[in-house]
């Protein structure tokens, strides 16, 4: 029951409020850091001193500095990150493929196929007109080069997204290394009774970024270490981490595996899922449909053309208009390119007979692929692609809305409010002032006692 007790309590609270002001300053200065969670000082009463005169309070202490954080929101954000990034990446890549088709426009394959068949129809009127024959050849050339550019455009897209997959996998590996290191640091600080708030923020950030790339699940052990798995395959914890790599199997499917190829994650979300799925399924599907179109054109035109007679003297027959189709390359017979007279549209060898040209033009109306005409099959491909893209767009938008809502929840819980912090500054400053005043009072009390002597 001495004056020094007052001094003790007051000087302890000076330290506590200084620390509280530090935390506030830390919050204010991180107000614009989106990954930062605001920190709160938890005050608690110092251990009471039990004496013969009764219980004596000994002032305040800082029990903990905690992050204002809602773990549930974080988990939901990661779930929707996976969905949103999957849909968004799909929409990006499909947009790229969409632009390769350049439909609907004059430059699209649809229009070029029309001109091809129309040029035959025109030729049927004046079959021995060399300018019309050249028109057939040039329209065939623009059509074949468009088919080729479609095919190659999709190959390029595949190459691009393969590179992107490699980049993303490298990112994943970096994050896993980072998470393992952070786990270690966080557990080390826990041993020293530190809550390691800023390290946890960093780890959360890494987990968020990881969830944009692939479907991950996270669990925490009792020491605060996070265990991450990607697509059901263990990826990182406090003690170790796994590295991944991309893999293309013999059938051309893209997937990711651990670097020792012992396990491959089952992807169902994030950028990588969109990339792998489009690379392995969607793009080859579009390409094989383009193959169908090109093969149908080649076979049906050849079937009629080979029965016809050329303008040569004497007329020759059994000539194919297209010689070969593979991997987007529809090849026009070189003899025809050299001499348009080799186009065979005469049914009976008579010069001036153009019946077969009309038959070839009629291919445009015959149902050759899956019960559809070539051009309606083709427009089916285009609208299918459009529908895929639209669906991804809508998915992305819907998930974006949820993410927006979740991030509002997150910032509402964890974001720094400058007003609130400034109020705290005033509060803590007042307490600091008061504590200082108490020291002064204690001093004066001491003086008074001293003067008594």
């Amino acid at each position: 029951m001495s004056v020094t007790r007052l001094m003790d309590i007051a000087s302890r609270s000076l330290g506590v409020y200084q620390r509280a002001l530090d935390v506030t300053a830390h919050n204010v200065s991180n107000a614009n850091n989106p990954d930062f969670s605001r920190q709160r000082v938890i005050f608690g009463a110092e251990r009471t001193e039990v004496t013969a005169q009764g219980d004596w309070g000994t002032g305040v202490q800082i029990e903990d500095v905690v992050r204002a954080k809602n773990e549930l929101t974080d988990i939901q954000i990661r779930t929707y990150n996976q969905k949103y990034n999957d849909a968004n990446k799909r929409s990006d890549i499909l947009g790229q493929i969409e632009s390769v088709f350049s439909e609907p426009s004059e430059l699209g394959l649809s229009n070029l196929m029309n001109s091809f068949f129309n040029s035959w129809e025109k030729l049927s009127v004046t079959p021995n007109d060399s300018s019309l024959r050249n028109a057939v050849i040039s329209s065939a050339q623009s059509m074949t080069s468009k088919i080729q550019s479609l095919y190659e455009g999709m190959d390029t897209a595949k190459g691009d997204i393969f590179n992107e997959a490699n980049d993303k996998v490298r990112d994943i590996n970096n994050y896993l290394v980072q998470i393992q290191a952070l786990n270690k640091q966080i557990i080390d600080s826990a041993v020293n009774n530190n809550s390691a708030n800023d390290l946890k923020d960093k780890r959360d950030k890494a987990l968020d970024e990881l969830s944009k790339l692939a479907n991950i699940s996270v669990s925490y052990d009792n020491k605060g270490g996070a265990t991450v798995s990607i697509g059901g395959v263990f990826a990182a914890d406090t003690f170790s981490y796994v590295q991944f790599k991309t893999d293309i199997d013999s059938s051309g499917k893209l997937s990711i595996t651990t670097s020792d190829e012992s396990a491959s994650p089952a992807l169902n979300g994030g950028d990588l899922y969109a990339i792998c799925d489009l690379y392995s399924k969607k793009i080859p599907e579009y390409q094989s449909k383009i193959d169908n179109v090109a093969n149908a054109i080649m076979n049906s035109v050849n079937a009629i053309h080979s029965t016809g007679f050329t303008l040569q003297n004497p007329p020759t027959t059994l000539i194919n208009f297209f010689t070969d189709y593979s991997n987007g390359k529809l090849v026009i017979n070189q003899n025809i390119l050299n001499d348009p007279k080799n186009i065979a549209v005469s049914k009976n060898g008579e010069i001036g007979n153009g019946d077969l040209a009309l038959d070839i033009a009629g291919i445009a109306n015959s149902k050759l692929i899956e019960g559809k005409t070539i051009s309606s099959y083709y427009s089916g491909i285009v609208s299918g692609l459009g529908a895929d893209k639209l669906q991804s767009d809508n998915n992305a938008e819907a998930n974006q809305l949820v993410l927006d809502q979740l991030s509002i929840q997150k910032t509402s819980e964890s974001g720094v409010s400058i007003d609130e912090e400034m109020t705290n500054v005033i509060k803590f400053q007042r307490s600091y002032d008061a504590s200082a005043k108490l020291i002064q009072v204690a001093d004066e009390l001491l003086q008074t006692i001293l003067q008594l002597v």
Binding site: D129, G352, S376, S379, S383, L385, G415
Partner: protein, 144 residues
């Protein structure tokens, strides 16, 4: 609900972004004068538009060909008319020879007349339309 400064800013930005992307969409429509610029703007609309454009092209070619055929036929008809005229001239000349008192002088005159008519019939038989001999049969590259 607790409102943080981040929240206000991100809310504002996402709102602005949304409006801007709408503006961008509408501007593209204005600039290109068409509502469908990519298949994903309207998948079913794209399919329909491709089909209609295809039909339109086919019909244009078809009607071009019909026009072509019509002009060809018109040329043929008028040439036939001219041939008929010439044949009539010969007929008239022949009937005059039959009736009138014919001298050798006269006869030569008539012969010239008939000759002239036959020559013009031959010329008419070689009438070309668009570089095609209209009476040339299927191989209209050769003069009949």
């Amino acid at each position: 609900m607790r409102i943080s400064d981040q929240l206000l800013i991100s809310n504002y930005l996402s709102g602005v972004n949304k409006s801007k992307s709408e503006i961008q969409k509408i501007q593209t429509q204005i600039l290109t004068h068409s509502k469908i610029n990519k298949p994903s703007d309207s998948p079913s609309g794209t399919e329909k538009s491709l089909r209609l454009v295809e039909q339109l092209n086919a019909n244009t070619t078809y009607s071009d060909n019909i026009d072509n055929g019509l002009s060809f036929m018109q040329t043929t008809v008028s040439t036939m008319g001219s041939i008929q005229d010439e044949v009539q001239k010969i007929q008239v000349a022949l009937s005059e020879i039959n009736n009138a008192s014919v001298t050798s002088e006269n006869l030569k005159n008539y012969a010239d007349k008939v000759d002239l008519a036959i020559n013009s019939i031959l010329d008419l038989a070689n009438t070309e339309y668009d570089n095609k001999f209209i009476f040339g049969g299927t191989d209209f590259s050769q003069a009949p």
